[in-house]
């Protein structure tokens, strides 16, 4: 059983990223959407929280916020909305950390 943890808020605004990461178990995936994508920026304070996690980021939200994919932490997958749907299908359930 694997879970998709969805985080939609900036880690600097809300504790939802910390809450998500604190409750992930092996095999789970973290998906960053909306303002949550800021967590994936290389060299920023929150980037360390992603270490060792399987992370995807919604490309449309990166582009909207002017974050180039070259600015991202290594190892993060960029997905589109179709990829988001695929992640929901590939995991058993989703937990939206609002």
């Amino acid at each position: 059983m694997s879970m998709l943890h969805i985080v939609n808020k900036s880690p600097y605004e809300r504790n939802s990223l910390a809450a998500a990461v604190g409750h992930m178990t092996d095999g789970d995936t973290l998906l960053l959407i909306e303002d949550g994508v800021y967590a994936a920026v290389k060299g920023a304070a929150a980037a360390g929280s992603l270490e060792g996690k399987t992370v995807s980021v919604l490309g449309a939200d990166l582009a909207a916020r002017g974050i180039g994919v070259d600015k991202l932490v290594d190892g993060v997958s960029v997905v589109d909305y179709g990829g988001f749907v695929d992640l929901v299908e590939a995991t058993d359930k989703s937990q939206s950390w609002l």
Binding site: I6, N8, E34, Y81, G82, V88, L98
Partner: protein, 130 residues
């Protein structure tokens, strides 16, 4: 995959309704079934037909109505949340003595049981909120 989508926030204030819409559309394009889209909390405000958004930006309400029409979607607005926030259809207007209705095409007002049923009948529930 059969999906129920829960939308917790209203149009424009939060990105949730937009993300839920794009997700739902992508799921349909991939051939998945949308069992229901359930609007709760301020999400009920996605169901008012009285918005006049600026011409150069997306029309969140209309977009949901059009998607519903195109794909025969079940867009359900929670009755208790709607009563609190003033989203009214003919039935609610009559029951509660309101002199107007404002529900947008493609939406219907119903109970929380519809969300629960969505959870029971679907393979996945995805929640979009603040």
């Amino acid at each position: 995959m059969k999906l129920t989508i829960q939308v917790n926030e209203g149009p424009y204030q939060h990105q949730s309704s937009d993300t839920a819409y794009h997700f739902t559309k992508a799921a349909l394009e991939k051939g998945h079934e949308i069992f229901r889209v359930f609007f709760y909390h301020d999400g009920v405000n996605n169901g008012t037909r009285l918005t006049t958004p600026p011409q150069d930006d997306r029309n969140v309400v209309k977009r949901w109505s059009e998607l519903a029409a195109e794909h025969d979607l079940d867009l359900v607005i929670c009755v208790a949340a709607a009563q609190r926030r003033g989203i009214v259809d003919d039935g609610e207007a009559e029951r509660n003595g309101k002199d107007a209705t404002n529900i947008a095409p493609g939406f219907r007002i119903s109970g929380l049981g519809q969300l629960i049923e969505g959870g029971i009948q679907s393979d996945r529930l995805v929640v979009f909120g603040d």
